[in-house]
């Protein structure tokens, strides 16, 4: 089937709007057909991104591919449609996640060492159930503890292409204000 660039762009848009997962470049190529060059497809994607600027959604490039997402500024309105609140993670969960993000692959014991407290199994389970972390191997020490790492989905869900887009740890040391903490 012969298609003009304008039609090809509409086809890409239709595919990306309706996809339930991010679409990889290879998948987008498959949709258009082999007669389309990588350069051409990249150009079409850029044009699409431009056309969607200042609209209700935007085309973003994630770790596992391209996807449309609604702009964060509309979330307060969209949230009115759902009764269930998105999960709010405890500090323990967030710190555990942070250790895995920055120190991966890492064992639970190593996380406990850094945090100085036991890491509850439920925390690991929560993060696994969310699809944000996974076991990528085992450390060859007694007990063969699982090595934990973040997943592609974690990057996708945080709208990141790679972990590189996160600020380096060294830049993060910024004194957390704890003025609000109670005196016990």
């Amino acid at each position: 089937m012969l298609t003009t660039p304008e039609t090809a762009k509409l086809i890409l848009e239709a595919a990306l709007l309706s996809a339930v997962e991010p679409l990889s470049f290879a998948q987008l190529k498959m949709v258009l057909g082999e007669e389309w060059q990588n350069d051409q497809i990249r150009k079409l994607l850029q044009e699409l991104q431009g056309e969607w600027a200042n609209r209700s959604a935007e085309l973003v490039q994630l770790a596992s591919g391209w996807r449309f997402r609604t702009r964060p500024e509309f979330q307060p309105w969209l949230a009115r449609l759902t009764t269930e609140k998105p999960p709010k993670y405890s500090r323990a969960t967030l710190e555990t996640l942070a250790v895995i993000v920055y120190r991966q692959p890492v064992t639970r014991g190593e996380i406990e060492e850094i945090r100085g407290v036991t890491v509850a199994s439920s925390i690991i389970q929560t993060l696994m159930a969310r699809g944000w972390i996974e076991t990528v191997g085992h450390r060859e020490v007694p007990g063969r503890p699982a090595l934990l790492a973040t997943t592609h989905q974690f990057l996708d869900d945080l709208n990141l292409r790679s972990l590189n887009e996160l600020p380096p740890l060294s830049e993060l040391v910024q004194v957390m204000s704890q003025e609000s903490l109670p005196n016990v």
């Binding site: 942070a98 250790v99 920055y102 014991g109 060492e113 407290v117």
Partner: protein, 268 residues
């Protein structure tokens, strides 16, 4: 606190010191349950508490006054112990670590510079851990501040109209040839089936002629030839006509010599 073995290395897993000394806590101290609850939710362990104490008093992490810090820390641990707070074990380990560092600082020590040229400060390992933990705390805060799907944005998912017609198999010329090959291979084994190699185009023309004859009762012989189509095409049509006649599928009718020939479907 003196029951704690002071030689416990800082980096060993904490669970190893969950020893018997802490199973019987003094029960005569009273802390309001809500306060302990707040305490529980406020600090993520001994490192967090230490950082809080250090930062609250603007102490220098790199030059911690161990006596002050240890004293303050112990006040909190006493509170926790009173309530048989489960995490107390980890806090107690830290207490042991602090006391150990404090005592080592009190001892006269020779000025030893290690291979890396650093002064062997007993506080070094603790400081290292505190700084590392502080970074992780900041990272956790940072991660929480990032837009996350479902909380801060939603994926676009437009409905795809269901295809009304079911998807039909596609075939290629190759599929057809393969089928024919395997067929011929089989029929060669059964020699009594006479399959001859014959021009496929003649067969197609035969079909075309039959199609046309279905419409009218009989057609002039010439009308079945495309005069302008070239000699090859004429020959093709002629061969098709001969084959149709041979197979008894059409009848050729000529009422008188040199009259027009009519073609029609064969009748019995």
């Amino acid at each position: 606190m003196s029951q704690i073995e002071l030689s416990v290395p800082i980096v060993t897993p904490l669970a190893q010191v969950l020893g018997q000394p802490f199973t019987e806590l003094p029960a005569d101290l009273y802390i309001p349950p809500d306060a302990l609850q707040i305490f529980l939710e406020t600090f993520e362990g001994p490192l967090d508490l230490l950082l809080y104490l250090i930062r609250r008093q603007n102490l220098d992490v790199l030059d911690i006054p161990m006596a002050t810090l240890t004293a303050q820390y112990m006040q909190y641990v006493d509170l926790m112990q009173a309530h048989q707070f489960e995490l107390a074990a980890e806090y107690l380990l830290m207490a042991a670590v602090l006391i150990e560092i404090k005592s080592r600082l009190l001892l006269p020590r020779p000025v030893v510079v290690d291979e890396d040229g650093f002064d062997d400060d007993p506080r070094a390992a603790l400081v290292q851990r505190l700084l590392e933990y502080e970074q992780i705390k900041a990272a956790a805060y940072q991660l929480d501040a990032m837009p996350v799907v479902d909380r801060d944005f939603a994926w676009v998912s437009v409905w795809v109209e269901q295809q009304i017609a079911p998807r039909l198999p596609d075939i290629e010329v190759g599929d057809l040839l393969n089928a024919w090959h395997s067929l011929l291979r089989r029929t060669r084994l059964n020699q009594h089936h006479h399959v001859t190699a014959e021009g496929i185009t003649v067969r197609q023309r035969m079909s075309d002629i039959l199609r046309r004859l279905q419409e009218g009762a009989s057609l002039p012989f010439e009308s079945l030839f495309e005069v302008n189509a070239g000699r090859l095409d004429l020959v093709l049509s002629f061969l098709a006509m001969l084959e149709l006649t041979k197979e008894g599928l059409v009848s050729l009718i000529q009422t008188q010599p040199y009259e027009s020939i009519f073609v029609r479907l064969a009748e019995r």
